[in-house]
Structures are given as structure tokens and as C-alpha cells.
Symmetry: C2
Subunit: 156 residues, 2 copies
DNA sequence: TAGATCCTTGGAGTGCGCTCCAGGCAAGCG
DNA sequence: CGCTTGCCTGGAGCGCACTCCAAGGATCTA
């Protein structure tokens, strides 16, 4: 029974709720994408997708009978999460760490929770930084706008 | 007369209003800092300060009679602006471009204005991205929190 | 005047995140 | 059958933003 709960927590579905549904997906059950399809859907290159796999950032990817990768909707969800985390500036190594925790199973649940909360704080801090920068830019922009008006009235 | 206005616009003072006064500054007129003092004030390394100069990201820096750099408050202001822009992810090459415009004189005024406005839009877009990421993180965090409660009540 | 500490330079090295290459296999098509 | 297209691999290469090194000069404290 403990095992059951645990399985649910670790279920990839739970760990890949990373965004609104992207277009052009196939329904679950028929979700088999080639690497170039995934590249088109995610904006990553096939090179990058293979590289993510090599460094351990991806779960195991299914292969066709000839050895070609076949990605699932679940893989796309994971890539969407990775994309979001990448936007925050999180180092790839940290994302690999998170991927390892997911692979390791349910006993890493608490650690994942902490990692997510820390990331959340980072994101908040980054937003605050950017808002500070925005204030500086706005001051400079209004300075240039005023200077522009002064020049224009002089010329008149 | 046109020349005068122009001089004001180009005046470095106008281009370095980059933030609240940082602590530990000396008053204008006695503002002579060694490279290691600037490193301490800005958090950059002396290496990085010299490198910024080499690539054209800094204006000309005064030298002591023996050739050592002596930074002014104005230089610190410029570095504060550079720091803010760096936080936005602006490439160093773009900052160099801006520095060149400032050095080039008043006729680059319009171009600087456009560059600042474009940067402002970038920053807004980045903030929006981060808020999207924050939403994803919050969903995952609340998922883990719920799962945690479930596990706890099971154990009870 | 010795020794420690700080500063100078040009150029080489580092770490990250890709990005690409060579050489080869497999499937589809006229 | 040959041709094209797409995918496979390990490993090399690249661009960015630093980061450091070696060798030497300047400054400070005792």
C-alpha cells in the first residue's frame, strides 16, 4: 500500500505537468515521435536532444526495432519542464540532478520538493532583479525622451 | 548652441544614473579607486575589470603617474549600469555597442534611445517568461505538498 | 633595504551549453 | 538497383564570458 502511493508520486505523469498543451500532439497511445518531430515541436535541435540524453537529463527513450528513438507525450512533457527551467538560468547540471531524483524513486520525494522550492525562490529573486533593471531602463529612457524633446524644440 | 545641448546629452553623468548610491563611495573630487577597491565594490574581479576595458566596454580609465588604474565615481556608475544589463542576459557585445554609441557622441542619441527601448521590451518579455515558469513550479510544488500530506496521513 | 603585497601586460586556459562532423545503417522510391 | 533522406554513434569544435598565468614593476611596512 505504501508502495502504491509511492508509485503514484513517482509516476512520470505527475512530474511532467509542465505547461499548457502544445499543438500538434498525437493522442496518448499513438504518441510515437521521431527525433526530428520532437525537434520541431520543442525548438531544440536533434543534436541537443541526443546530448540531453547522454548527460542524463532525459529518461530512457524508447527505440524502434531499428534502434531509432521514439519519443512519447510524456517525454514531451518532460522537455517542456526542462525548457521552463532553462529559462530561469538553472544550470543543466542541476536539472540532471532533478532527473536523477525522479529516476531514483519515491524516497527522493522530499529532496525534490526542497529543490523545487529553492528554484521557486531563485525565480522570484530573478524577477525582482529584472524589475530593478526595468526601473533603471525607464529612468534612462525618459531622460533620452526629454532630451529628444529639448533638441526638437530647439530646432523649431 | 546645438553643440552645447549635445554635450549635455553625451555627458557621462547622464549615462550612468544606474541605481541607488552604493555604500563606501568617496565624495566626488576625491573619487580615486584602485582596481581592487572597485573589485570589492562591484563584486567583479580585477581580471574582469581589465577585460571589460580591453573589449571596449569601459570608457578610458585614468592612470596614476606609475600607470595604475584609478577609477572614479563615474566609472562606478557605468559599472552599475553594466551590472544591471548583465542581469538581463544582454550579451557583452551589445553592451559594447552601447558603450561605443556613448563614446561616439551626440549624433548617436536616437540609436541609444532605440536600443534602450528594445532592451526594455526584452526585459518585460523575460519577466513574463519567468512568471510562466513560476506558475509551473507552483503547480508542481503543490502537487508534492499534497502527496506529502497523503503519505503522512497514511503513516498515521 | 628587505620582504610582502598590489599592480601591470599579453596571451593562454576554463567551463558551460551546445553544435557539428565523419562514417555508417535503414527505409522509401522510380 | 541506385539515390535520397533520416537516423545512429563517439568525439571534436565553437562561442561566450570570464579566469588565470608568467614575468616584471610599484608601493608599503619594519
Amino acid at each position: 500500500m505504501d508502495a502504491m502511493t509511492v508509485t503514484e508520486i513517482t509516476d512520470t505523469r505527475s512530474d511532467t505537468c509542465a505547461g499548457p498543451p502544445q499543438g500538434d500532439r498525437r493522442p496518448d497511445g499513438k504518441d510515437k515521435y521521431t527525433i526530428s518531430e520532437v525537434a520541431a515541436l520543442t525548438g531544440l535541435t536533434a543534436h541537443t536532444l541526443r546530448w540531453y540524453e547522454r548527460i542524463g537529463l532525459m529518461p530512457h527513450i524508447d527505440r524502434s526495432h531499428t534502434g531509432q528513438r521514439r519519443y512519447t507525450n510524456r517525454d514531451l512533457d518532460w522537455l517542456a519542464l526542462v525548457g521552463k527551467l532553462r529559462l530561469t538560468g538553472m544550470p543543466v547540471a542541476d536539472m540532471v540532478r532533478y532527473a536523477e531524483l525522479v529516476r531514483a524513486g519515491d524516497h527522493t520525494y522530499a529532496e525534490r520538493f526542497e529543490l523545487l522550492k529553492a528554484t521557486r525562490e531563485d525565480v522570484l529573486a530573478r524577477i525582482a532583479e529584472l524589475q530593478g533593471t526595468l526601473a533603471v531602463l525607464d529612468r534612462k529612457i525618459s531622460f533620452y525622451a526629454d532630451a529628444g524633446r529639448a533638441l526638437a524644440s530647439e530646432r523649431a
